[in-house]
Symmetry: C2
Subunit: 232 residues, 2 copies
């Protein structure tokens, strides 16, 4: 079950310092991994580099995570955790709370775009994910929906949030030279498109840079309004 949450054991007991003196832990490893990804992009998260950054042998990481994929899931869970810190849902205003929840998740992804892409689409089954789902469902229950509708609406909600988050994180997280390519596309390359073959694209040239902005908040509000308008 490679998709799994499980670090190797649930808890470590013996803390033996590494050759260079640092003491390893799942959290410390995730910390360092997140820092690596934030700094230099997803490509720089390799077991070897991670080991070096930790001052440990790369293979030591395998005592905490079964594979690099497991580590990616843990990064994802860390992002969800970051989303949830300081977030206290207000059941009396479920709609505002859910919106805040969505915006926070989106911003977590924007803060760590490259990490978000590593795990953005996976069901992590790790603790923070469970907490997030429980929180979301609670708000929808408070809104008056039954358990079944709460699940359906939460599904639409979280997919919308994650979809936009990932899409925008993908742009955000490109390496500089790629980014210049992708973003510049709207200004430079597409500006030269011919009027005969692509008339509408040609006509829209001055407005194409709008494509750089995010459509997230508008889409989110749209969705919340639709949920609110749903029968209880």
């Amino acid at each position: 079950m490679a998709g799994g949450a499980t670090r190797v054991p649930a808890e470590r007991k013996r803390r033996r310092p590494t050759r260079s003196g640092t003491v390893l832990s799942s959290d410390a490893i995730v910390d360092k991994a997140l820092a690596l990804v934030d700094e230099n992009g997803a490509d720089s998260l390799t077991m070897r580099k991670l080991g070096q950054a930790l001052g440990a042998d790369p293979s030591a990481v395998y005592r905490y995570f079964r594979s690099v994929e497991d580590l990616h899931l843990a990064l994802g869970d860390r992002l969800i955790g970051e989303t949830m810190t300081d977030f206290t849902p207000d059941p009396t205003d479920w709609r505002a709370s859910l919106r805040d929840f969505g915006v926070r998740a989106y911003h977590s992804a924007q803060r760590h775009p490259r990490a978000a892409l590593l795990s953005g689409f996976r069901v992590t089954r790790l603790p923070n994910e469970q907490r997030a789902i429980d929180t979301g469902l609670g708000l929808l229950r408070a809104a008056g929906f039954g358990p079944r509708d709460a699940v359906r609406h939460y599904h639409a909600f979280i997919d919308t949030v994650l979809g936009h988050a990932a899409l925008d994180a993908a742009v955000q997280g490109l390496r500089p030279e790629q980014r210049e390519g992708d973003e510049g596309a709207w200004g430079a390359v597409y500006a030269e498109v011919s009027a005969e073959t692509y008339p509408h694209l040609h006509e829209a040239r001055p407005h194409l840079p709008l494509m750089r902005d995010s459509a997230f908040e508008r889409a989110l509000d749209l969705l919340l309004a639709a949920i609110d308008a749903s029968p209880r």
Copy 2:
């Protein structure tokens, strides 16, 4: 500009057969690459395996694509192309046409989930992408929107489509053992969640398998309705 569309030259001239007799071309390479990914997952798209499948030296691919990333973008463009085949927009019913467009794009991604994830978030700048944008803008212009609003609405539209497509493709494209993990999560693991720590999650257990279904079409209709209701 690694993000770029550019194959190495625009056109090949000399067609020299490979050692094993096959004749290479950008299209033939993309064909084979797509087949590889469809069959065995994204992990099986390596230059070496691709070379072997083509009956050519791996490095021959570099005469057609500058890097593996370039090849990924070409796969993405192929998917957009697949979306557009047999699609003829009907300007007199822009809303139905746009819906059809979105559904087609979504289904292309579902048909090749693993390929969709390789490029789903990139601006390819390749021909089919340009055609798709032009078509979408044309429909929104026909709906009565000015060029600027057409761009804004197209942006929201395509992000919604791609976001859901990618999210669902991610589930679809998991390797079997991962998939069992992710999908099973809703049934098995989450079913055992404790009532005290996560009351709402606990309560919703019987309905969690709903999370497996896609929220795409509902979200799409929602968005189209909102666009339709926007001022011209």
